[in-house]
């Protein structure tokens, strides 16, 4: 199977150049001070990280971002899973149509859709947190549905038939056959929803009436308004490490579910 592995060489080269190399520069910025954003004079320091963890405000902002991303992800699964399941049981042509219908709104600018939500929700006296979640779930739901649907579409029908033949009822079949098979799709969905959701801030800012300062907001402020790339890089590094750790836990859970 070595010939198959060779197929990954172009992409490994690509990410080495366009993902890893830029990340190394960001890493250098995070461990440097006084470089501003003009030149990078590397002088090793941990000051940026100390500054982040010394001030409880920053940690609080990070925790709020993680909480919002987590709740958004959970709601996306709860709403998206049944939808994906229903779509997967439609005739094949309708399935394609549904996937396209779910994607189309993603082509309309996110800012415009969020303005629209603000207009729609304007007439309701909802608390701002609920508005934020409506906006967030709205933005990420299609990704979750598509990922789960992809995993369970074209699933081996024989498996289901076999399960029925063996006397399993609908629930049992779902729990023992469909659900385990859809786990990789859910994990993929979580990756596509949770990861970007942690650093997204435009929707909470616009729908939350300015009550939400999130980590993405913080990073953007320090990169752009303040022009302090060092601190901005350090914050994004802390955030990335926390996300990677949480994804590692998720994958561990997935592996356990698989071997069960």
């Amino acid at each position: 199977m070595k010939s198959f592995f060779r197929m990954t060489y172009p992409y490994i080269l690509w990410i080495a150049l366009f993902v890893v190399a830029p990340m190394i520069m960001i890493l250098l910025y995070a461990f440097t001070k006084d470089g501003g954003n003009r030149t990078l004079i590397f002088r090793f320091t941990l000051d940026n990280f100390i500054r982040f963890f010394q001030d409880p405000t920053f940690t609080k902002v990070l925790l709020t971002s993680l909480r919002i991303a987590l709740i958004t992800t959970v709601f996306c699964i709860l709403i998206g899973y049944p939808a994906a399941l229903i779509i997967a049981n439609l005739p094949e042509r309708l399935q394609t149509l549904m996937v396209l219908l779910l994607t189309l709104p993603m082509w309309i600018n996110m800012l415009l859709k969020t303005y629209a939500w603000r207009g729609i929700l304007n007439d309701f006296t909802l608390n701002s947190e609920i508005k934020v979640f409506i906006g967030m779930v709205y933005d990420f739901l299609p990704y979750m549905i598509i990922q789960i649907h992809t995993a369970i579409a074209k699933m081996d029908r024989d498996l289901l038939t076999a399960a029925y033949d063996l006397g399993a009822n609908r629930w049992k079949t779902f729990l023992k056959v469909t659900l385990p098979l859809s786990v990789p799709g859910i994990i993929s969905g979580i990756t596509l929803v949770f990861l970007p959701a942690v650093s997204s801030f435009v929707i909470p800012k616009l729908l939350g009436g300015g009550d939400y300062v999130l980590i993405g907001n913080l990073i953007e402020t320090f990169f752009i308004s303040t022009g302090d790339w060092n601190f901005g890089s350090a914050i994004s590094l802390v955030m990335a490490l926390i996300i990677i750790a949480s994804m590692w836990v998720t994958r561990k859970l997935d592996r356990n579910a698989q071997t069960e």
Partner: protein, 270 residues
């Protein structure tokens, strides 16, 4: 009895799907309605007018931004779908450690805030003195689109029965043939979903595009985000996108339908 049970579930599930679609299309409908507003307001509908459409077609910066967006999205989607598919298949046969390492790196563009990816890419181009241009913009888009394709295809590959491809090769099929005849047909829906997501990501990106595009290149998002005063012509533009895509969807779904009917009429046996 079985039938009755099914019809109840049928209505329930279709109803649920309808609700989800309503939720997803509600803001789109709102955007469309306000493209016909006679004032600049986004919350007050003051009367019907086509002035924002007129404005849009007169506004060459906006029209240029449509062209840029579409061209970049098409190229980025095509390239990232091919790279993503090939890589995902290769990775599914790789040793677990290597696979984990590549996938972890692959996640970086997804989890990094756009501004970090953007500044990183910009630095990468300016350190060796590469002038920002359409090419750097497209490279940036391919870079952040491909991870989505891989992430969409990988789960499907994990479900595949390895033995089928191996059996095909045992029976004398070349690896290439095993790939195109056995693996690709099975992961086709995942490739399509991945391509659609890549297209959407590219279509809607602002920050990364801003910092990697050359002089005089704006995409739709750059236009929308830079507006100092809200211009409802962007609603007109979105409406246009919705109409064009809907037309395509209708065509694509109606044409094969007619063809099938024709086949059926000619060959009543099937």
């Amino acid at each position: 009895m079985e039938r009755k049970k099914k019809s109840l579930g049928f209505f329930f599930s279709r109803g649920y799907l309808l609700l989800v679609l309503l939720f997803i299309y509600l803001p789109i409908a709102y955007v469309v309605v306000f493209s016909f507003n006679s004032s600049k307001s986004l919350t007050n509908f003051t009367g019907f007018s086509l002035q924002w459409y007129e404005n849009m077609f007169k506004d060459r910066t906006m029209l240029e931004s449509i062209r840029t967006t579409v061209v970049v999205a098409v190229i980025a989607t095509a390239v990232s779908t091919v790279i993503g598919t090939v890589t995902a298949i290769g990775l599914s046969k790789a040793r677990p450690l290597i696979r984990a390492m590549v996938l972890e790196t692959n996640n970086l563009p997804v989890l990094n805030p756009d501004i970090v990816t953007a500044i990183g890419m910009m630095l990468l181009f300016i350190v060796p003195g590469v002038q920002l241009s359409m090419t750097t913009l497209v490279i940036a888009h391919i870079t952040f689109c491909t991870p989505y394709v891989i992430l969409t295809i990988m789960p499907k590959l994990r479900q595949l029965d390895d033995n089928v491809a191996e059996a095909a090769m045992d029976l004398g099929a070349s690896p290439f043939k095993a790939l195109t005849k056995v693996i690709l047909p099975q992961i086709y829906p995942a490739i399509l979903s991945g391509a659609l997501i890549a297209f959407s990501m590219s279509f809607d990106d602002f920050v990364i595009s801003f910092f990697t595009a050359g002089v005089g290149i704006n995409n739709i998002s750059m236009y929308v985000y830079s507006m100092k005063r809200y211009n409802p012509s962007v609603n007109a533009l979105s409406t246009l996108i919705v109409v064009v895509v809907t037309l395509i969807l209708v065509l694509v779904n109606v044409i094969p339908h007619f063809r099938d009917k024709k086949i059926k009429r000619e060959d009543p046996e099937t």
